[in-house]
């Protein structure tokens, strides 16, 4: 194609690159409670979701920097877990865990990180065994290979396969080496047949030279929390098309195969004396409809607390300002439309973050099916 042809073609959007294969639907569950509620389960089923990224536990520093500890583990067995779904255990590790480890000398650091990998390995294994009430669940990952395309990993038989483990940490240039060493250590403990993935934040895709590429098999691009939630003039820190555009240009260069997580959650940002003091998860303007307590400040996004009151177990003081941030169908559609054009053509999972009643009520399955083409 000559230059003129290329220009014409691009301007008319006529030479749109062939689209990626249809992504496999998935969802995150980020709770500790031991039951997937019936409405949530119905939502999953109606969307044909067959993969569940299940937060198993968090890791945080303790008084002893060499011994980080698991926090808030998922209560097991998990009721209402679909028989036909794959489960990906997810462990969230606070960055300060690694910051604390950095206070040790090099040898101690290595030992502590290896121990951490060992502990996490054992704990996930033990929890996998307790996913079902019967305790009879066993991962079927051994039958799969690291080279297997995700779409080929489909459940067969009556037991849920666990094809992948995922680590979630917002590492920094300072903690990068420690975190990557941890990932290497964990990888060493896993069979080749089990994939190890890591969550990748937008800034890590944009600045891979500074942040590094984690030594894992796949990445999960977390396409949300893209703007500064603390800034007063932020419109929607969760998902904002204009902000997202700043992150697109290097997406196709990222050297790891990427799955994608899109947000379906919302929250109310509480500001007091100019500072963000709380995020009230799962709430939207419907929770602020009581005009005796809340006053709308134009539009459906900004409110002021008229009289002090409890909301979602948090005590708001008169004068607090509230900003509703949520993901609407339109913004989700636009985000996915922009994103799919820029991602390399490959098979991947598209996960919704995250499964809870508020999300289920806000975005019905028909709408999501339509938007994501499931």
């Amino acid at each position: 194609m000559n230059g003129i042809g290329l220009v014409l073609c691009l301007s008319a959007n006529g030479c749109r690159p062939a689209e990626s294969p249809q992504p496999q639907p998935a969802v995150y569950r980020w709770k500790t409670s031991p039951e997937i509620l019936p409405a949530e389960r119905a939502w999953m089923d109606s969307l044909g979701i067959r993969r569940l990224y299940l937060r198993f536990f968090d890791i945080d520093r303790s008084a002893d920097p060499a011994r980080p500890l698991p926090v808030a583990p998922l209560q097991l067995p998990l009721k209402n877990l679909p028989d036909s779904a794959e489960v990906v255990p997810v462990v969230f590790i606070t960055n300060r865990t690694f910051e604390a480890l950095l206070s040790l000398d090099e040898e101690q650091q290595k030992t502590a990180i290896s121990e951490l990998a060992g502990h996490i390995h054992e704990k996930i294994r033990a929890m996998e065994g307790r996913l079902y009430a019967s305790g009879g669940h066993l991962p079927k990952g051994a039958a799969l290979s690291r080279q297997t395309e995700p779409a080929e990993i489909l459940p067969k038989g009556d037991k849920i396969p666990i094809p992948e483990w995922q680590m979630d940490c917002d590492w920094t240039p300072e903690t990068r080496d420690a975190y990557f060493y941890f990932l290497e250590e964990l990888r060493r403990l896993l069979p080749d047949s089990l994939l190890l993935s890591a969550t990748i934040r937008l800034h890590q895709v944009k600045y891979p030279e500074q942040t590094g590429i984690p030594p894992v098999d796949r990445g999960m691009l977390m396409f949300y929390n893209m703007d500064n939630v603390r800034a007063a003039d932020t419109r929607n820190s969760i998902l904002d098309r204009s902000v997202a555009s700043a992150y697109y240009n290097r997406l196709d260069e990222y050297p790891l195969p990427l799955d994608v997580a899109l947000p379906v959650f919302g929250w109310v940002v509480v500001r007091r004396e100019g500072k963000v003091v709380q995020l009230l998860s799962g709430l939207d303007e419907r929770a602020l409809a009581d005009t005796a307590r809340f006053e709308a400040l134009g539009g459906a996004k900004l409110f002021r607390v008229k009289r002090s009151t409890y909301l979602n177990a948090y005590y708001l003081y008169a004068g607090d300002s509230l900003r509703v941030e949520k993901v609407e169908a339109d913004s989700l559609r636009a985000a996915w439309s922009d994103l799919r054009m820029r991602l390399p053509r490959e098979r991947r999972h598209l996960a919704l973050y995250h499964l809870d009643t508020a999300s289920v009520n806000r975005l019905n399955h028909e709408e999501i099916r339509h938007i994501l083409g499931w």
């Binding site: 500890l69 698991p70 502990h119 033990a126 007091r272 004396e273 100019g274 709380q278 409890y310």
Partner: protein, 831 residues
């Protein structure tokens, strides 16, 4: 030099010298911290000033590491509370405490079994481990076998009712359930209500750790009616008879279970109840307290049995780190209960306002890094809140109902200060001074008084009349100086954060004063007292101001002085114009100006300035070997290359003179100036950033700047307001090397011409590294590829001087050159 060192102290030796010494010690502290500190605002309120009984919420004020220490302490407190409960229940004196502790917490099952046997049979002796244990002897004497049975049961339960290793999976639920059954039987058989209460506690703990909240509540509902509470009381050391701690601990477990089953209001009221009565459980009660909505809050309030409980509910809510606790404080005040909570909350709120406002009204190093403070605009709500809190503090103080009215008054004064109302603050401080007894509150008052005094050092307070202005300024300086070296409070309290804050504040405040008086040099010295900072990138206005101040101080000294105090009229600025060794800054300033002139190659001016540096100090300010030849050893014997001695060490003054002399000789049209040109070029090259004698034309060199050669900027020294300068220009040395080549060739000195060509090539290569074309230093030990347009002198060396010994030597010694020849003349080595 001596003249400078003793100029102002000479007349008043002892007192002045002592003061000066103290000032220098203080300055040293400031110097060592680079004039900067780790905190971002001055923190003057000390949580430790609260009465002990009123500080139940330590973790909310503490940094992360200290929270663990707090909880460890809480654990110890809890253990002690349990030991005391046993002791009080049995009406034993304090001397039994150690024995109780050892028996309960250190005995193993076998020892307790032996004790039980010994209780049954008088012929059996006490187990070996308990022979010296007074409590064991007491149990034996009293025949307390039920107590030992309970202790054995508690020991069996212990592994299952403490926080397990978080990494461990699974739970011994069957064993725990068996223990519950066993405990229920023991409860039924036990005749002591006190021990039944303890059994109930163990049973509920087991249910709690199994995650079975409903079972815990059932156990409570079923078994509690079988305990006669009046029979479980203990006699406290003050003679008061009250519930055993076990009753409260059981209630806390019950609260946890109620919360887990969704009865949050009931749970909250119980948490408040336990919080109110048991200090050792306050941290956990606060952590567990949770209500969903207003309905639950109102219900919890309605469940409270008295105002103390209601006040506690408010206090629990108010202790959230982000709360605006005035609302709860007003509610507690209205109830007229628990004034101690009010004091804790007052302090919490003052600390919060301090965090918001200090940096605004009392800026910390603000001038130097304005961008860091751009976001510090105070939100209008903060000021409104301050005014409301201040009004409330005044109300409480004025009501006469506060147990520590001075605390409220001090807070009121501090809030005035935080609002920037210095005059009102002064009034309140004066009023409260006579009322505060010695102790933490008096110390706090002293801190605020010093702070207020420092705040008064303000140019706006100076009158317009010149004489009066000068006199008041002198008073301010004397006060400031005395504060720093003579404040009783500052010097008697060496380890407090407030002292550090006040000293930093004093320096900042004086900086601000000098800025208003257009003394940039003094201002700079207040903020950056370390001489090093002065030298990094000396600003003309700063140097000029310091010189002028020094001249004025000197003139002042020369005046006839009949009062005997004339020389100390401006002691603060006097001290600021001393170098870090306690001598006058004059020589340092002369040297700085000399170096600047050397950088500009203004040699006459450089010599004039450097001449003002006393000769014995010249070497101290920096020496180098500016005419050292690279690879000198390999061609020192080369014919026709008889350069002057290249190993002489020069100081800056000598170097300036040498350059000046070389320039003079060149201009004098000597017959063969090639060596002069070469020496000039070499001296200049060696004193750039890239040469070994850089110290002769600079005060600080940061090797990291190699990474920024191709940019227009250099790495600023961290914290230095004007960064630092590096002498990176190689055009001048290149000019002299070119001249050397031309003249050496003219006179047939090809070895020198080759050497000058090589040096010119080094300059040319640096110019490439400095160009935008340079992509950066390659990783690893790789020679960067230099474009041909930057290899004109290598080409000249290879093409025009290939017959020289120097050329041959360089092929062996210089990988860059060898690489160039291999690349451009591949057959050369075959020849």
């Amino acid at each position: 030099m001596k003249k400078y060192a003793t100029s102002w102290v000479g007349k008043y030796p002892l007192k002045a010298l002592l003061s000066l010494a103290l000032f220098l010690v203080v300055l040293l502290w400031y110097v060592l911290s680079d004039g900067r500190n780790s905190y971002c605002w001055y923190s003057l309120m000390e949580p430790g000033l609260l009465p002990e009984e009123a500080s139940p919420i330590g973790p909310l004020y503490l940094p992360f590491e200290d929270v663990y220490a707090f909880y460890r302490e809480q654990k110890t407190t809890q253990l002690q509370a349990n030991v005391d409960d046993w002791r009080r229940r049995m009406c034993l004196s304090k001397k039994y405490a150690a024995g109780i502790r050892a028996l309960i917490y250190e005995s193993d099952r076998s020892t307790l079994k032996q004790l039980k046997t010994a209780l049954r049979s008088k012929s059996m002796s006490l187990p070996y481990a308990l022979r010296g244990n007074a409590f064991a002897r007491y149990l034996r004497k009293q025949g307390c076998s039920e107590t030992v049975d309970y202790l054995l049961y508690a020991l069996d339960c212990e592994p299952y009712v403490t926080a397990a290793d978080a990494w461990e999976e699974g739970q011994a639920t069957e064993i725990m359930q068996d223990l519950i059954e066993e405990g229920k039987e023991a409860f039924a058989k036990c005749s002591s209500d006190y021990l039944r209460l303890r059994y109930l506690y163990q049973l509920m703990r087991l249910a709690h750790y199994m995650g079975r909240s409903k079972q815990a509540l059932q156990l409570y509902d079923t078994l509690m009616p079988f305990i006669l509470l009046p029979e479980t009381t203990v006699k406290y050391d003050d003679g008061r008879e009250d519930y055993s701690i076990m009753y409260f601990w059981v209630q806390e477990l019950r609260a946890g279970a109620l919360q887990a089953v969704g009865q949050r209001a009931e749970a909250a009221r119980l948490f408040a109840f336990v919080f109110l009565h048991r200090p050792e459980r306050r941290a956990s009660c606060y952590a567990s307290f949770k209500l969903l909505d207003d309905k639950e809050w109102n219900r919890a309030l309605s469940l409270c049995e008295d105002d103390d409980e209601r006040a506690t509910l408010y206090a629990l809510r108010a202790q959230h780190p982000d709360s605006r606790a005035l609302e709860e404080m007003q509610a507690i005040y209205k109830l007229g209960a628990r004034p101690d909570y009010l004091e804790v909350l007052l302090l919490k709120e003052v600390k919060e306002l301090e965090r918001s406002l200090m940096a605004q009204f009392y800026p910390y190093q603000r001038k130097i890094r304005p961008e860091r403070f751009a976001s510090l605009r105070v939100h209008p709500d903060v000021m409104s809140y301050l005014i409301e809190l201040q009004a409330f503090a005044h109300q409480v103080y004025a009501s006469g109902r506060a147990p520590h009215p001075e605390l409220w008054q001090i807070a009121e004064a501090y809030l005035f200060l935080l609002a920037g109302d210095y005059a009102e603050a002064q009034k309140v401080l004066k009023e409260v001074r006579g009322k505060v007894p010695q102790g933490p509150l008096a110390d706090q008052l002293s801190v605020l008084e010093v702070f207020a005094e420092i705040t008064s050092f303000e140019a706006g307070n100076l009158p317009r009349d010149v004489q009066a202005r000068k006199a008041l300024l002198s008073e301010m300086e004397i006060s400031a100086y005395n504060l720093l070296v003579g404040s009783k409070w500052l010097n008697d309290n060496p380890d407090t954060a407030q002292r550090t804050a006040l000293r930093a504040y004093l320096m900042d405040r004086m900086a601000r004063l000098y800025r208003s008086l257009d003394h940039p040099g003094l201002e700079f010295r207040c903020l950056y007292p370390r001489d090093f900072f002065l030298k990094l990138n000396p600003q003309e206005k700063i140097v000029a101001d310091l010189n002028q101040v020094l001249d004025e101080l000197e003139a002042l000294e020369l005046k006839p002085d009949s009062t005997g105090g004339e020389g100390l009229r401006f002691p603060f600025r006097n001290a600021l114009t001393l170098d870090n060794h306690g001598s006058s800054l004059k020589p340092v300033l002369a040297d700085l100006q000399g170096v600047r002139m050397l950088q500009q190659l203004n040699l006459s001016a450089a010599i004039t300035y450097l001449n003002e540096v006393p000769p014995f100090l010249r070497d101290e300010f920096g020496t180098g070997i500016p005419f050292k030849l690279p690879w000198e050893d390999i061609y020192k014997d080369t014919a026709n290359l008889t350069l002057e001695d290249s190993s002489i060490i020069f100081n800056r003054y000598e170097f300036a003179q040498e350059l000046h002399s070389l320039r003079y000789k060149i201009e004098a049209n000597v017959d063969d100036p090639s060596k002069l040109y070469f020496r000039m070029g070499l001296g200049l090259y060696n004193t750039t950033f890239f040469g070994p004698a850089w110290i002769l034309r600079d005060n600080y060199r940061d090797p990291e700047n190699w990474k920024r050669l191709s940019t227009d900027s250099i790495y600023p020294y961290p914290g230095a307001p004007y960064g630092n300068v590096e002498v990176m220009d190689v055009d001048m040395p290149l000019y002299y090397f070119r001249q050397a080549i031309t003249h050496a060739k003219l006179h047939g000195n090809y070895e020198l011409a080759a050497l000058a060509t090589y040096m010119a090539a080094m300059c040319e290569q640096i110019k490439y590294f400095q160009s935008k074309q340079f992509p950066g230093i390659p990783k690893g030990n790789v020679i960067p590829r230099v474009p041909d347009e930057y290899r004109t002198y290598f080409r000249m060396l290879h093409e025009d001087f290939r017959d020289t010994d120097f050329h041959m030597s360089m092929l062996d010694e210089c990988l860059y050159f060898r690489n160039y020849v291999m690349r451009t003349d591949s057959t050369f080595f075959d020849e």
